[in-house]
């Protein structure tokens, strides 16, 4: 089996994997980072979104081998003693109900705010095109991201 090395949440990891191992399987099964969810397994829902070299991607549609040498950030890598501002805003504004979509939503929002510090409501809604939520109706998710944007650029 080939070996893969990547930096996950700041820590270098190396493992032997079957080439067909998906990045999300590697994170959940090899590294026990189960915060990244699998909703659809067909690149539709965004529950599996993580950052690879600073860009949000669907980890169900990427091989672990494709992340060889890359830096990966999962939901577990955000909090640093206290919640990341995006996480805190989701909590404060009730941006979640069952929570299944939340890790992907938060990672997608973190990526958006790193590229566009003050997005408009419409830009936020368009950015979330690949993230489905079956509970909240999106309104509070959008509010949470607007609030996080204000706090982070203050």
């Amino acid at each position: 089996m080939p070996s893969v090395t990547m930096k996950v949440n700041g820590k270098e990891v190396t493992a032997d994997v079957e080439p067909r191992t998906l990045l999300v399987e590697f994170l959940r099964q090899n590294l026990a980072l189960t915060g990244t969810h699998v909703g659809c397994d067909t690149s539709q829902c965004g529950a599996c979104v993580v950052l690879v070299d600073g860009n949000s991607v669907k980890s169900c549609t990427m091989l672990a081998m494709q992340a060889d040498g890359d830096e990966v950030t999962t939901i577990e890598g955000l909090a640093n003693g206290e919640l990341h501002p995006v996480q805190a805003a989701f909590k404060e504004h009730h941006g979640l109900q069952c929570g299944f979509c939340t890790p992907g939503m938060v990672m997608s929002a973190v990526d958006l705010l790193s590229k566009n510090a003050k997005p408009s409501e419409s830009e936020i809604r368009h950015w979330l095109e690949g993230n489905f939520c079956r509970c909240t109706g999106y309104h509070n998710i959008v509010k949470a991201i607007q609030s996080a944007a204000e706090r982070m650029s203050a």
Binding site: P19, R20, L112, G130
Partner: protein, 264 residues
């Protein structure tokens, strides 16, 4: 997904020989279509040749009157590129409207055109601008590149290396997107340039096609009104749960007018 051997060559020459050397090898670009196909076991390659390490396939440059986009350039890179925006804003807009941000971070122009999905956006841009597809073996004018449903002029083992676009005076793109996937139910790309007017339609038929009657009308008068009365026949157009052939034929005219109106 069945297992396979994985390779990440560092040069085009290595990629070509890895492709020749294996039983049933396939190229892997962004994987946004191929990995899904493999999960469904509709493809079961013996080897995957990941092109992400091949530097020759990356980058965007303006060379004289042409814009050159490397095959492994992602949709997100094209959408935000100042070089692309300055050369043809409609092309940057088209790339920024593909799927969602995560798909745009991985999906590539080379993968999109090699795949030739009937509802993909890029085929309309290539055909609508009169682009040239450059491979490791030859140059293919776009008018003979898209040959049918998921079919192109690419031969077994041929690698798309870049796409070259001539500079238009003006161009516009309008798509009626599937609300779930953002794929085009109908998308129309129009341009006016040194080669005349081109009108290219994606999403409506088995593969992207041009509408000669609209091109002639727009050559005389580049305005939405000039094509208001021109309809395409619905026979042979796609018909599925998203839209009937008749509705697609109707949308071709509406999107063509919007594309002309937005052209800059």
């Amino acid at each position: 997904m069945y297992n396979f051997d994985y390779h990440r060559p560092a040069s085009l020459a290595e990629a070509a020989s890895a492709l020749q050397g294996a039983d049933e090898a396939k190229l892997l670009a962004g994987g946004q279509t191929l990995l899904a196909t493999m999960k469904q076991r509709l493809a079961s390659p013996s080897d995957l040749i990941d092109l992400s390490g091949v530097g020759e396939l990356k980058g965007i440059s303006v060379e004289g009157d042409s814009l050159v986009i490397g095959a492994m350039t992602t949709h997100a890179e094209v959408a935000k590129s100042d070089a692309v925006k300055g050369f043809c804003a409609a092309l940057a807009k088209l790339a920024g409207g593909i799927g969602d941000p995560q798909v745009r971070h991985r999906g590539t122009i080379g993968g999109s055109i090699a795949n030739a999905d009937p509802a993909a956006d890029y085929p309309a841009a290539l055909l609508g601008l009169g682009a040239t597809v450059v491979t490791d073996k030859r140059e293919i004018p776009v008018d003979s590149f898209f040959t049918g449903l998921f079919e192109t002029a690419l031969e077994e083992g041929e690698i798309v290396t870049k796409v070259r676009f001539p500079k238009p005076q003006r161009a516009g793109y309008a798509k009626f997107a599937n609300p779930a996937s953002r794929y085009a139910i109908v998308g129309v790309f129009v341009s006016q340039g040194p080669g005349g007017v081109r009108v290219a339609v994606t999403g409506a038929g088995p593969s992207a096609f041009r509408v000669a009657e609209m091109e002639q009308a727009l050559a005389g008068n580049f305005s939405p009104d000039a094509i208001a009365g021109i309809s395409v026949p619905s026979s042979g157009l796609n018909s599925d749960i998203h839209a009937s052939a008749d509705y697609r034929a109707h949308l071709v005219n509406v999107m063509a007018r919007r594309a002309v109106e937005s052209a800059s």
